[in-house]
């Protein structure tokens, strides 16, 4: 398997030379490799792209999908924007909180799952949308939480 450095160079080649366009894709690769963007992971990206770690961190800190703190091995994200909320997103969120034993924004004690609320995922007609490791589940109801959690933990 190729190293992170090599994969970053592959991505870099998709953009014109002398630009920083590969920074965000490279941060994503680093996050996938390390689980989160630790200072070491950020430094790896910076070295691979000839930019400073501070530059990478300034970019990473702008975007919601980049995690600058350790997170669980899996993520469950509940959209609570208007349309999903009309379908009962808050009750769905609470069902996950009780199933996981942690609040939104927290990770389970065993480090397995991070639960979050998230802004509009672009599936408003199929709410409540829950992204499980980034993949959308449509029309999720509170009673679906237990099955989703055991599936993720399996």
């Amino acid at each position: 398997m190729s190293t992170l450095y090599e994969r970053v160079q592959e991505v870099r080649a998709k953009y014109p030379e002398g630009t920083h366009s590969a920074v965000i894709p490279a941060l994503r690769l680093a996050q996938e490799a390390h689980g989160w963007l630790s200072p070491d992971a950020i430094r790896e990206v910076a070295d691979a792209l000839d930019v400073t770690p501070a530059y990478c961190e300034s970019v990473a800190s702008f975007y919601d999908q980049f995690q600058l703190e350790p997170v669980g091995a899996h993520s469950i994200e509940v959209c609570t924007n208007v349309s999903c909320a009309l379908y009962g997103a808050q009750q769905v969120l609470e069902a996950f909180e009780s199933e996981l034993g942690c609040h939104a924004g927290e990770t389970t004690e065993d480090g397995a799952v991070t639960l979050r609320t998230i802004e509009c995922l672009g599936g408003c007609g199929w709410g409540t949308i829950v992204a499980v490791d980034g993949r959308y589940r449509h029309k999720v109801k509170p009673e679906d939480a237990a099955a989703i959690v055991s599936e993720v933990r399996a």
Binding site: I24, F62, V82, G122, C124, G125, A131
Partner: protein, 443 residues
């Protein structure tokens, strides 16, 4: 006009158009061949004749946007085509549907547009959360690798964002694509003159681009027969909230909002014996309409008369169980979270809007706070680089204007008069962060 029309989504009910062979079986990529035979100027002429206007929300005439790109003699830099697939407007999920069901029609539109604006490099900026849509695009492009006859010498790169609503604003998108924090630029210069890497750039929305192949196939004049004056063609409208049938519907503008919500072919009415209280007509950035205002054509001119807009065509129906102050809180929290922080009125003002609305909801506000809320809205509107703050302020101010009695009922110890509203106590990401950071109260 009481049924759907299929132009952008044509064939997707009958076939799996995510596959190249299936798409070619319904005439796919023949518009590309036709466009190449016509030449770039003739393609732009057809777009002008079609009267197609941008489907991302700003509604700018597409052909005219293309014609702003300078010639090679005027500017020797490469031309870029950038596709805005950062769909994040609350209420809109139409580009999701288009990317999922007709990715090849969208890619054909990219190739035709690149040809028309003399670009060899296309960047599709897709929001990071659209993982499955990204995978579908990558798979579709993989199929094209074996078909140099189709892709020609044009390179298409799919670039994933990383979670930021503001990157739907075209100059913020360009900064993000350049590997920066996604913050809007001052305009001018406009992207057509100095966009990606300071080179001439056309930025178009997914639906706009997916409409290009059918326009080339049928001819601009034929396409312009759909719809009504100033809103030609079809639009994929997202309907969600308190309706029997939510989903995306391709319509001819001019259908009334009433039909979209109650029509059997569309929303199918309000469930549970409730009545319609309000409608957000074009995504949460648009001015709200009351349930009595829905006998209006769903088109640019008709909605403009009510000082609102089709926006990104995200219709959210709200029934009589919804508290408008709670709606204001949730919408304001969204913009507070998504403000990029560059302009002070938006960065601070959206936070103030939320704080005042929360005070109202708790019954701790006086009439002075209501005036303060409208004053904050006024101090954001028109005072920032991009429309994020403007539209947030206009939307919130419209809730107060159209449901003033309900806001008054929240004052002076009254608190929320709703026993049960679906938006009660909904946890927004911005509140989730504040919970961890211990944010100080503003008001």
């Amino acid at each position: 006009m009481s049924a759907e029309v299929h132009v952008v989504l044509a064939g997707a009910d009958e076939r799996d158009l995510t596959k190249l062979s299936e798409y070619e079986a319904v005439g796919g990529y023949q518009a590309l061949a036709k466009a190449r035979a016509m030449g770039p100027a003739a393609v732009t002429d057809e777009l002008n004749a079609s009267e197609l206007r941008g489907r991302g929300g700003a509604f700018f005439p597409t052909g005219r946007k293309w014609s702003f790109v300078p010639s090679r003699e005027q500017n020797p830099n490469p031309h870029y085509l950038v596709i805005n697939a950062d769909e994040s407007e609350p209420g809109s999920f139409k580009d999701n549907e288009i990317l999922t069901r007709v990715p090849h029609r969208f890619i054909e539109g990219c190739l035709i547009t690149a040809f028309a604006v003399d670009s060899k490099a296309v960047y599709i900026y897709i929001r990071g959360e659209y993982l499955e849509q990204y995978e579908l695009l990558v798979a579709a492009l993989e199929e094209l690798k074996a078909r140099p006859d189709l892709r020609g010498d044009c390179t298409i790169v799919v670039h994933r964002g990383a979670g930021a609503y503001i990157c739907g604003e075209e100059t913020a998108l360009l900064d993000s694509l350049e590997g920066k924090r996604g913050q809007p630029r001052t305009k001018p210069p406009f992207p057509a003159i100095a966009g990606l890497y300071a080179s001439p750039t056309v930025v178009n929305n997914v639906e706009t681009i997916a409409t290009v192949p059918p326009i080339v196939t049928m001819g601009g004049a034929e396409y312009a027969k759909f719809g009504v004056e100033n809103s030609r063609g079809t639009r994929v409208v997202s309907i969600s909230g308190h309706v029997e049938r939510s989903g995306n519907f391709e319509i001819e503008p001019g259908v009334t909002l009433h039909e979209l919500i109650y029509g059997e072919a569309f929303g199918g009415g309000i469930p549970g014996g409730h009545t319609l209280k309000a409608v957000i007509p074009g995504g949460s950035s648009t001015v709200i309409l009351t349930g009595d205002e829905v006998e209006v054509g769903y088109d640019f001119d008709s909605l403009s008369k009510l000082r609102t807009a089709m926006g990104s065509a995200g219709v959210i129906a709200l029934d009589d169980s919804v508290c408008m102050v709670q709606l204001g809180i949730r919408v304001s929290e969204f913009y507070e979270h998504e403000s990029c922080g560059k302009c002070t009125p938006c960065r601070e003002g959206t936070r103030w809007m939320t704080a005042i609305l929360r005070k109202l909801e708790a019954g701790d506000a006086t009439e002075h706070d209501l005036d303060l809320l409208l004053s904050v809205c006024d101090r954001i509107n028109g005072k920032c680089l991009c429309p994020l703050g403007d539209t947030a302020a206009m939307a919130i101010a419209s809730y107060v204007e159209k449901f003033r009695a309900e806001f008054i009922a929240h004052l002076d110890g009254g608190g929320c008069p709703f026993d049960h509203s679906p938006l009660d106590g909904v946890l927004a990401p911005v509140a989730q962060h504040a919970h961890h950071l211990g944010q100080a109260a503003l008001v």
